[in-house]
């Protein structure tokens, strides 16, 4: 990184080399999307852990308030 020529007064920090950071970035996106799914969508249209309403009912108010479609 120290080879980047500094031609501007505005600091433009590191570019993360994507192939190297891919594992962490990709893993984080997958986990975050899984959380998005369980908070917002699971046990409405589709259900991962069997046909019950535990997650849906528990986060019910959050689901409505965060903008997800509900009953």
């Amino acid at each position: 990184m120290s080879t980047i020529p500094v031609t501007t007064a505005v600091p433009t920090p590191v570019v993360l080399p994507l192939p190297k950071a891919m594992l962490w970035l990709g893993g984080t996106v997958l986990l975050a999307l899984a959380m998005y799914y369980f908070i917002g969508i699971d046990q409405g249209a589709t259900s991962v852990f069997g046909d019950n309403m535990y997650i849906h009912e528990f986060v019910h108010d959050a689901r409505h308030f965060l903008g997800f479609p509900c009953h």
Partner: protein
Amino acid sequence: MEKRIILRGVLVGALAGLLAFVFARIFAEPQIQAAIDYESARDEAQAALDKAAGLPVGDEGPEIFTRAIQANVGIGVGIVLFGVAMGALFAVAYAVCLGRVGNLRPRTLSVLVAGGGFLGIYLVPFVKYPANPPSIGHGATIGVRGALYVVMMVCSVAFLVGAVVLGKRLAKRFGNWNATLLAALAFVVVTGVAMALLPSLGQLAANVRDYGPQATETPLPLRNPAGQIVYPGFPADVLWDFRFYSVAAQAIMWAAIGLLFAPLAERLLAPRAERVAAS
């Protein structure tokens, strides 16, 4: 470096979620309770009509969690975890944008990426499919509604990413200001087309069959066979308050993510830039 960025994103996301929860507990819960009260009383009126007509009266499902748990704990857990997830996505977007979107200070980029998250993940989908309190939304359409919401969200995020890439390309020819305006215009046009193509909730086949042509699923007044209104439609003020607070809570959450991450990013990245400048 990516690990440190993600860790900070998750932390500010949790904190931002906590702020949004406090706001929700104070402002949203009374509206949610009003909506649930409306729904219960409407169900009673409907049951009375059904009974008079000799129809079987549907019974309510069992209560798994009490309202107290839902309104104090469930909403908190849901919003804080949502904040964590959004903080994580924010951190990834930030890491990818670093050094790829022009000469921005770390803290400026933080605020811009958070603004993009607010717009792409929440506000644009909200414009087409706004948040609804309990009692709005028909059980028969939950599958379609969930799918449409996700499609709208994916479109809006994809178009936003596309607009940033387009703006970068145009910047060489038109300069930063004009390129940004052109990219924003392209985003609005493409998003508008997507919104026009996606159906309104009232237009879904199951809704047209049961309720006739309507724009939304907001409950209409309940009428008896003689056509007299026996129970009013959903109160407009409750609906507006709920939606306004929903937007406000997300604005608080994303603003907190952007503003709390900003100084952390400066500290994490600025020393490096200074070292580079000094060498």
